[in-house]
């Protein structure tokens, strides 16, 4: 009896301690959906996996970032059952205008702040999902990526592509991840990534980034 009680309280203690100290698998730690169902683009995954982007300043660094995202997601084992062709982001409009078909809007703007970029998303209302004949909730419409123009102008091509990859990662539903090198490393102030690596040391989606992404869309059944 005493031993059973000890075992019970010890197990509970260990489980609770593990819960609070954060020993969960890396992927689950950066699933944005756990943060209040926010920041994911669900609808287009019912279509063909292509994400349409509008930008206030279409540029080659955006294209470079999209190429990197595609090459580090296409044909990868984590995506084998879902998006085997990889994540395809398309520079659809260059006027920054959100039409019905747009998933992500990229805005370059002058702001006084310490951050380099941020992300805001609107959850698609039920009548919008109904318009597309998909059940609600059906993701964000749209998700916006805001880039601090002065930081953008003060950095090189690699840094810029990394920032676009990071912020669109938020749009796709992935949160920060500091346990390993990741495309979702937090920028540590104006210095390196949170792993103390250089911000531009990671220029691809890592396996745990792909894992996290797959886990954001657990009920995805394909087009």
């Amino acid at each position: 009896m005493a031993f059973s009680r000890w075992r019970l309280s010890s197990t509970a203690g260990i489980l609770l301690a593990a819960f609070c100290l954060g020993t969960a698998p890396a992927a689950s730690a950066h699933i944005e959906g756990q943060y209040g169902q926010r920041g994911y683009i669900w609808l287009q995954y019912y279509w063909n996996g292509t994400i349409w982007v509008t930008s206030t300043d279409c540029n080659n660094r955006e294209l470079g970032a999209y190429d990197r995202i595609l090459s580090s997601t296409a044909g990868k084992p984590e995506f084998a059952n879902r998006w085997s062709d990889g994540l395809v982001l398309v520079q659809k409009r260059c006027d920054g205008v959100v039409g019905t078909q747009i998933d992500i809007k990229i805005i370059y703007e002058d702001v006084v702040a310490s951050w380099w970029g941020y992300n805001d998303s609107d959850r698609a209302p039920s009548s919008w999902c109904a318009m597309w004949d998909v059940p609600h909730p059906c993701g964000s419409h749209p998700s916006r990526v805001h880039i601090k123009l002065s930081s953008w102008q003060n950095h090189g091509d690699m840094w810029r592509e990394r920032l676009i990859m990071h912020e669109t990662g938020h749009s796709l539903g992935i949160a920060h991840h500091c346990a390993d090198d990741s495309i979702m490393n937090t920028p540590a102030g104006n210095g390196p990534a949170c792993t103390e690596a250089n911000w531009t040391d990671v220029m691809v989606w890592k396996a745990h980034d792909r894992d996290a992404h797959v886990n954001v869309y657990p009920n995805w059944k394909g087009p």
Binding site: S9, G22, E32, G36, A113, P187, G189
Partner: protein
């Protein structure tokens, strides 16, 4: 008391103290927790809305990055503030306390303004398509009555 029994007793006391500590922490936070590398962070959901005063002490300079999600149907905004400690907060977009909060007030105002602009452009886009009698997007023809229903609600 044997050495083994003493070890069991120490382990038991430690486990109990940990469980108690965690329990107290959960009650203190009061809005539930979510696990994250390095520890637990406070999290709120639509059912357990917290007041903006939760953010007391957070200053804009400490914000490394933030993300926000607007739910127009629920009238809520969920904001994740990435800083020295991450904070997740879900608030009513009509809560005057939040709208005037020095940290999240500007975030909410910017987000609402962006949402308004994009809604306006989308509505204009849809109106043009509806006027043509056919709404075809991404090689798919949408039911025009459903498009109108969406427009009636949000445009």
């Amino acid at each position: 008391m044997s050495h083994s029994a003493r070890l069991h007793r120490i382990a038991k006391s430690t486990a109990f103290a940990l469980a108690l500590l965690v329990g107290v922490a959960l009650v203190t936070v009061g809005v539930g927790t979510i696990q994250k590398e390095g520890g637990a962070i406070p999290v709120a959901n639509a059912q357990e809305r917290v007041q903006c005063s939760t953010l007391t002490g957070v200053v804009p300079a400490e914000i490394q990055e933030y993300s926000s999600m607007l739910d127009r149907e629920e009238g809520t905004m969920t904001i994740v503030i990435y800083g020295t400690t991450d904070t997740v907060i879900t608030v009513s977009i009509t809560d005057p306390l939040c709208l005037t909060d020095s940290v999240i007030g500007p975030i909410m105002a910017r987000h609402l303004e962006n949402a308004r602009i994009d809604q306006a452009t989308e509505c204009a886009d849809l109106a043009q398509r509806v006027a043509s009698g056919k709404v075809s997007i991404r090689d798919r023809e949408l039911n025009i009555d459903k498009v109108k229903a969406y427009m009636e609600e949000w445009c």
